[in-house]
C-alpha cells in the first residue's frame, strides 16, 4: 500500500505471546494517536485487532516487516514458533513490555515447575473434582478425530533468550507516551528523518524512579521493614525511609513514579536503570547500603522483617536474571544481551 505521495509505507506488526493483554491495552491507550500510527505504517499483523493470519505473515519476504512490537513471554512451542517467524520477517524486533523483556510476574513460575502446577490445579485444589485423575493431554484425540493441545514448557523465557532483539520497551505495561515515542521515532528514522538508537538499547529514561518521585528524601537508615498493611505512611516522605519496601532506587524511571504517589511502594515493573543487567542483584546490593546495622546479626535481624526477598527482588526480572530459575542445573544457555 502507498501513502498519499505514492511512497510505500513501512510495515508494522504487533504480536502477543504469553501475556495478559495489558500491553495491547497500553498500545490502545495512546488514544487518538493510534491514527497517526496507522497513517505512518501499514499494519500487517495484529491478531488482537486485525484479521491477518499467520499464513499472511509467512507469505511476506524475509525482512519485509520494518518493525515488530512483540509482547508476552515465551512459554510454549507456539510462542517460540511465532518469535522465530516474526524475527525472520522483521528488520527491527522490539521486546515490548516486561514479559518479553524480562519475564515479568508470570516469570515467577521459574521458582516452581510445570509438574507442581499440573498437580495442584488438576488434582489438589479445593474446588477440583477429579476422581479419575484426568489431566489435559497434549496428544488428545476425540472419538471423532485428533485435537492436540500445545505443550506447556517448564520454564518461562524472555524474547531475547529465543531470538535476537534490537530494542526493549520496559514497563508492565509501558506507559503510553513511551509507546508513542518508540513508534514515531521508528517511523521518522525509516523515512530518513532521524536516527535510531544503537541496537540493544532500552527505549526510555536512564535514571531511577527515585529521581522522578516527588517524595522528600533524606538519609536512609532503616531499622526494620514494615509490610504495606502494617503502617499508614507519611504522605510526603520517601517510603523506603519509612521502612516500606520500594524498588524505586534501582528501577528505571519513565512511569512517573505512579505507585509511590498513591502511597504504595514501587515493585520494579520498569526493570533496572541504565547500565544494570540483573535487577534483583542490584536491588539487593542497593538495599544493603541503607540498613542501619553495624554487625551481620543486625543485618539479618532487619532482613528478617522483609519476607520473601526473592519474590520482591525478582518480582519482574526472574526469567531474565542470572538466577533464571531455581533449578539452575536445568537453566538453558543464554544467548544475546
Amino acid at each position: 500500500m502507498s501513502n498519499q505521495n505514492g511512497n510505500t509505507k513501512p510495515k508494522l506488526a504487533l504480536y502477543w505471546a504469553s501475556s495478559c493483554g495489558g500491553c495491547e491495552i497500553s498500545v490502545l491507550a495512546i488514544h487518538e494517536k493510534i491514527l497517526d500510527v496507522a497513517a505512518a505504517f501499514d499494519i500487517v499483523f495484529w491478531p488482537c485487532v486485525m484479521d491477518f493470519k499467520v499464513k499472511d505473515v509467512e507469505a511476506l519476504a524475509d525482512g519485509e516487516i520494518d518493525v515488530c512490537l512483540f509482547n508476552g513471554a515465551i512459554r510454549n512451542d507456539e510462542n517460540a514458533e511465532m518469535a522465530h517467524l516474526l524475527r525472520r520477517k522483521s528488520k527491527i524486533m522490539v521486546a515490548y513490555g516486561s514479559c518479553s523483556m524480562e519475564g515479568c510476574i508470570p516469570g515467577l513460575a521459574n521458582f516452581t515447575s510445570r509438574d507442581a502446577m499440573m498437580q495442584f490445579i488438576y488434582h489438589n485444589s479445593p474446588s477440583t473434582d477429579n476422581p479419575d485423575g484426568v489431566e489435559p493431554d497434549p496428544d488428545w484425540a476425540f472419538p471423532e478425530g485428533p485435537a492436540p493441545l500445545p505443550k506447556f514448557w517448564n520454564t518461562v523465557k524472555t524474547l531475547d533468550q529465543v531470538v535476537p532483539v534490537e530494542y526493549y520497551l520496559p514497563g508492565c505495561p509501558p506507559e503510553a507516551e513511551w509507546t508513542e515515542t518508540l513508534v514515531m521515532a521508528a517511523a521518522a528514522a525509516l523515512a530518513g528523518e532521524g536516527e535510531l538508537p544503537p541496537p540493544g538499547s532500552v527505549i526510555g529514561n536512564k535514571d531511577t524512579v527515585c529521581d522522578e518521585c516527588p517524595r522528600t528524601k533524606n538519609e536512609k537508615k532503616i531499622k526494620r521493614f514494615y509490610r504495606p498493611y502494617e503502617i499508614v505512611p507519611d504522605p510526603d516522605t520517601c517510603l523506603l525511609e519509612q521502612g516500606i519496601f520500594c524498588a524505586g532506587y534501582a528501577t528505571r524511571s519513565g512511569c512517573g513514579a505512579l505507585c509511590p504517589q498513591v502511597n504504595m511502594g514501587c515493585r520494579g515493573c520498569y526493570g533496572p536503570n541504565e547500565g544494570v543487567d540483573d535487577h534483583g542483584a542490584r536491588l539487593i546490593t542497593g538495599l544493603a547500603s541503607v540498613l542501619d546495622a553495624k554487625t551481620d546479626e543486625e543485618v539479618d535481624a532487619i532482613l528478617d522483617t522483609l519476607p520473601d526477598p526473592a519474590g520482591y527482588f525478582y518480582r519482574f526480572g526472574l526469567a531474565h536474571s542470572m538466577l533464571h530459575r531455581t533449578d539452575v542445573a536445568h537453566a538453558p544457555k543464554r544467548d544475546g544481551n
Binding site: 502477543w16 490445579i121 474446588s127 477440583t128 473434582d129 484426568v134 498513591v262
Partner: protein
C-alpha cells in the same frame, strides 16, 4: 468424518480453538471448545506475602485487572480478619464502578453491538465499531472514546494506575478522595449516566424496533435453559462489589444463596483431557456432561445470568430498564444468550448510577481509608462480580501471612461449559447436509460465544476489529476441502 477447525478464534491469555466434526452425511457429529494454555498463578504465588496478591493476580488479565485486584483485596480483608472502614468500601466500589462502565462500554460498542446495530447479515467489512458509528452517528463514536478516556482517568486517580492499579490493602485502600477529586468524579459519573441512557436508547431504537433482530434474539439457535449465577445484595438486587452468590434454576427458582466462605460446598470443577481450562458446576446437581436443564450442574455467570439470578436493580433507571427487559422478552428467566448484550447495557446504567451515588456520598471524602490489621492471618476468600462472571479468590497463609494455598475460579471459567454448549447448538442449527458453509455461518457461530464476552475477546476492545475466524473443512484424510475466513480483505 469431516473435521472443521476454527483456530485461532483469538486469545484467552492464549488461544481458544473450536473443532467441529461432521459425519459422512454432512451433519454435525460433535463440537468441542478447547483452551490450550495454562499459566499457574495458583502455584507460583505460594511463598509470597499475601498482601502482594492484588498486585500479582491482576497480571492474569490486563484487560480487567481491576476485577482481580478487587477480589484479592477482599480476600485479604477476610484473611487478616480486618474490616475496612465504611469509606474505604465506598472508595473501592466507586473505583470498581468506573471500571464497569468502561469495560461494558467497550464490549457493547466494539464487539457485541455490531451484530445488532449494524446487523448480523451485514457485509463483514461493516460489522465493526466503524459500522456502529455509521449506523448510530459520529456522536456515538466520540461518546465511546470519551467514555473510555474519562473512566480510565478515574481509575488512575483512585487506583494509582490506569492498567494494573495498586491501591488495595487488607483493611482498606491506599488512596483517599479529596474534595477536588470528588468534584471531578461527580462530573464523570454524571456523564456516565447520560452515556448509559444514550446506550439504552440505542438498544431501543436500533434493536427492539427491528422485528428481525427480536426474532433472532428469541430464536432457538441461541436459547439454552441452564442455571444462572450472580452476586446479590441483601435485597437480592444485582451487586458487583459485595454480597452473596445466588443461583437460580432454569425456572428462575433459587437453588442456593451462598456466602464466599461456602463456595467449595456449592461449586466444584470438572477436568477434561482436551482442555487446560476446568469446567465448574453446581455440586448439588453434579457434573452430568455438556447438557442444560434443571438436573444438570451447568451454570452461566454473565450479565444475563446476573439479571436472572437477582430480583431487580438497586438504582432507579437501571430498574426501569430491567423491568422493560423482562416485559419485552416474556418474563423471567430469559434463556436467550444474545439478550446478554442488552443486559450488559442495563448493568452499565446501574454502574453509572451507583458511581454517581457514591461520588455524591457526603462521607466519600473522609480521609480515614485504612484500618490496620491486628489479628493473625489464616484463610480468606473474596468474591466480586467481574464483568465476565463471578470471580473467586481463595488464599491460606501461615501465621506470618505467607501464602500456603491459592485457589482461583475466574470469570470466564464459569462459562466454559455453557460456551461449549452454545457453540455446539449454533453449529447444529446451522450446519446441515448439503448446505454450503458460508461467511454468515461463521459469524453466527461467533455470535454464539461472543454474547458471553469471554476473556479471549476482551482484548479486542476498543478498536475496529472482529474476532478473526478461520474455518478449514478437512476430509477424513486431513486434506483441506475448503478454507473460509472472514474479516479478511
Amino acid at each position: 468424518m469431516q473435521k472443521i477447525m476454527i483456530d485461532p478464534i483469538t486469545r484467552l491469555e492464549g488461544h481458544g480453538k473450536i473443532t467441529l466434526f461432521l459425519n459422512d452425511e454432512g451433519d454435525l457429529e460433535n463440537a468441542y471448545f478447547q483452551i490450550p494454555e495454562l499459566r499457574g498463578f495458583e502455584v507460583f504465588s505460594l511463598g509470597r506475602p499475601a498482601e502482594e496478591m492484588p498486585r500479582i493476580t491482576q497480571r492474569i488479565c490486563g484487560v480487567c485487572p481491576e476485577a482481580h485486584h478487587m477480589a484479592a483485596t477482599k480476600a485479604l480483608d477476610d484473611l487478616f480478619h480486618v474490616e475496612a472502614p465504611p469509606v474505604a468500601h465506598k472508595v473501592r466500589e466507586l473505583f470498581y464502578m468506573a471500571f464497569y462502565v468502561t469495560d461494558h462500554t467497550t464490549h457493547f460498542y466494539a464487539l457485541g453491538g455490531p451484530d445488532f446495530v449494524v446487523g448480523p447479515d451485514a457485509p463483514a467489512a461493516e460489522r465493526n465499531i466503524l459500522g456502529v458509528v455509521a449506523a448510530a452517528g459520529m456522536e456515538a463514536g466520540l461518546a465511546v472514546i470519551n467514555c473510555r478516556k474519562r473512566n480510565h482517568h478515574a481509575i488512575k486517580m483512585l487506583g494509582g494506575r490506569a492498567i494494573h492499579p495498586v491501591a488495595g490493602l487488607p483493611g482498606g485502600w491506599s488512596v483517599a478522595v479529596t474534595p477536588e477529586m470528588r468534584d471531578e468524579l461527580v462530573r464523570i459519573a454524571e456523564e456516565n449516566v447520560e452515556f448509559a441512557r444514550f446506550s439504552l436508547q440505542l438498544v431501543d431504537d436500533i434493536v427492539l424496533k427491528n422485528q428481525a433482530y427480536v426474532d433472532l434474539i428469541v430464536g432457538g439457535a441461541y436459547t439454552t435453559p441452564i442455571h444462572y449465577m450472580g452476586l446479590v445484595d441483601a435485597n437480592n438486587h444485582v451487586n458487583f462489589y459485595d454480597g452473596k452468590v445466588r443461583v437460580v434454576d432454569p425456572d428462575g427458582v433459587e437453588v442456593v444463596r451462598y456466602a464466599p466462605h461456602e463456595y467449595t460446598q456449592h461449586i466444584a470443577e470438572h477436568v477434561e483431557p482436551f482442555s487446560y481450562l476446568k469446567f465448574p458446576y453446581l455440586k448439588a446437581k453434579g457434573w452430568k456432561g455438556f447438557v442444560g436443564g434443571k438436573e444438570s450442574g451447568v451454570y452461566a455467570a454473565t450479565p444475563l445470568s446476573r439479571l436472572n439470578a437477582a430480583d431487580g436493580m438497586a438504582t432507579p433507571l437501571a430498574q426501569e430498564a430491567y423491568e422493560k427487559f423482562y416485559a419485552t422478552l416474556g418474563g423471567k428467566p430469559v434463556h436467550h444468550t444474545l439478550a446478554c448484550h442488552w443486559a450488559r447495557v442495563i448493568e452499565m446504567m446501574y454502574a453509572a448510577e451507583r458511581m454517581l451515588e457514591l461520588a455524591r456520598d457526603p462521607e466519600i471524602t473522609n480521609p480515614n481509608v485504612r484500618n490496620i490489621p491486628t489479628e493473625t492471618p489464616t484463610e480468606g476468600i473474596g468474591i466480586v462480580e467481574a464483568p465476565r462472571g463471578t470471580l473467586t479468590h481463595h488464599y491460606a497463609t501461615d501465621a506470618n501471612g505467607i501464602l500456603t494455598m491459592v485457589n482461583l475460579i475466574v470469570g470466564t471459567t464459569n462459562n466454559n461449559a455453557p460456551i461449549t454448549m452454545s457453540i455446539k447448538q449454533a453449529a447444529q442449527a446451522l450446519i446441515k447436509k448439503g448446505e454450503v458453509i458460508t461467511d454468515g455461518l461463521l459469524n453466527k457461530i461467533e455470535m454464539a460465544f461472543r454474547s458471553y464476552d469471554p476473556c479471549f475477546s476482551c482484548a479486542t476492545h476498543s478498536l475496529p476489529g472482529q474476532m478473526p475466524l478461520e474455518v478449514e473443512v478437512l476430509d477424513a484424510s486431513g486434506n483441506v476441502l475448503k478454507r473460509l475466513s472472514q474479516y479478511v480483505d
